[in-house]
Symmetry: C2
Subunit: 266 residues, 2 copies
């Protein structure tokens, strides 16, 4: 074993890091085989999907099961099915409670959603991606499909782009360079000038989003407050109302977080 990294890189997408525990990576990878549509899997299915020998998958699943991360339903001796375990519900709840911005913003988001009757989202930066950490839906029949905890690139959608616009220069540049999109840099500048981000049909066709920054007590942007819905609603007078209410809400949240808007010295 001259170069351990080749082994790791050969098997997993999580390359580069040496000294990582392979069993842990394999086990956690198995958890990601479960999705909305796939809430039950057999050992065989898991072994195949995870590209692991059956006994290995079996042992890793046993460990996950012992810790409550998966749950095994035995229909009969040779028909077992795995589901995600409730330990994940507990930890997910804990993470949600540990996100200060989220806890602070939620009641304001609910109020805003009621005022304008569009979906309201809260987005933060995480590991060079944008992560949706809270949402309040409109009560319209047609609803955006979004999922809390999911991430997207920082250059798609009004929330992500707003966050990108307020990132430290070096990080921002690294991402802009990668996208190879010349207009993006200009757009980010425009976002900072106007104080909000706009996107039409980026995440989904037919959908428009508008996002305002949320500041913390250090006067730094830590989240984006996003309103989104069918593009046809985001025009004229109604758009002005949305902008006004959303800005106001973003400010309310920021103030609650200790933000003090600087008085300009002219």
């Amino acid at each position: 074993m001259e170069n351990p990294s080749t082994l790791v890189e050969g098997h997993f997408p999580y390359k580069g890091k040496w000294g990582m525990n392979q069993s842990v990576v394999k086990a956690l990878n198995m958890l990601e085989l479960f999705t909305e549509d796939v809430d039950e899997l057999t050992l065989k299915e898991i072994a195949i999907k995870a590209n692991l020998p059956k006994p290995t998958a079996y042992r890793l699943l046993s460990s996950l099961e012992a810790m409550g991360y998966v749950h095994k339903l035995k229909n009969s001796e040779h028909d077992s099915r795995y589901r995600l375990g409730l330990k994940l519900l507990e930890l997910g709840q804990l993470v949600a409670d540990q996100l200060e911005v989220r806890k602070t913003a939620l009641p304001f988001m609910e109020s805003l959603a009621e005022q304008i009757n569009e979906a309201v989202h809260l987005v933060i930066v995480n590991q060079h991606e944008a992560t949706y950490i809270e949402k309040v839906e409109s009560n319209k029949a047609l609803r955006l499909y979004t999922r809390i905890g999911k991430s997207s690139p920082l250059y798609i959608g009004s929330g992500p782009k707003l966050l990108l616009a307020y990132l430290p220069e070096d990080e921002q540049e690294a991402i802009v360079t990668k996208t190879n999109n010349e207009r993006l840099a200009q757009e980010l500048m425009l976002i900072r000038e106007r104080g909000y981000a706009f996107s039409i049909g980026e995440q989904d066709t037919d959908t428009t989003g508008i996002s305002y920054p949320i500041y913390d007590h250090r006067n730094q942007v830590i989240a984006a407050l996003t309103v989104s819905g069918l593009s046809s609603y985001f025009i004229g007078e109604n758009l002005e109302l949305i902008k006004e209410k959303t800005l106001q809400t973003a400010m309310d949240i920021s103030n609650k977080l200790g933000y003090r808007s600087q008085l300009r010295k002219e």
Copy 2:
């Protein structure tokens, strides 16, 4: 290594299971060091609390970090702090969405909480314990402290006891025997007779809870609908109102789940 189990049993509380992956168990154990009060930990703290050598803890944390289960904040080269990662938010959300009862019950729970203005909980059986999978709070100043995803023994509190009462006989007996509580068996019989469970000051002094069963399409009890609050509200006319509304809600949820109450043949 004559008997591998001694090794495993010596180190972890998850005894008995051979062929479990120790690294996975150790890694997941580290996640449980985080609590409401402890949302940040240094490597040193984790190593000590998890009873692991620092390099081992370091490597396991690196694996968890690569998978998004923890997040490392580097304040400086030698001052890093770990937090739970947003991957857990995503998976927790997924688990929540995969719990059919929970999804079905939530709107009914909200309506009930509004009608009676007390906390409403949804409890299920999981691994011989009772797990709280949803809650809707009252808007009273004094609120019960509960946490979604948390488990408690099946013989404490009205929700757990109701679930215990409707468990298959063998499982029920196993638990009743363990508690060594003679009155418990009688109480469980009473619960089945009356169709609801009652508890005063069991989870917390000053708190009373009342629980009704929720049935699925197989006419089996799969969850408990629990209303709880300050004992002083659970008396007289108000108690009757609570009982009536809660029973009705439990039935509504059951019906939505496909329950068809059997017509008694007399």
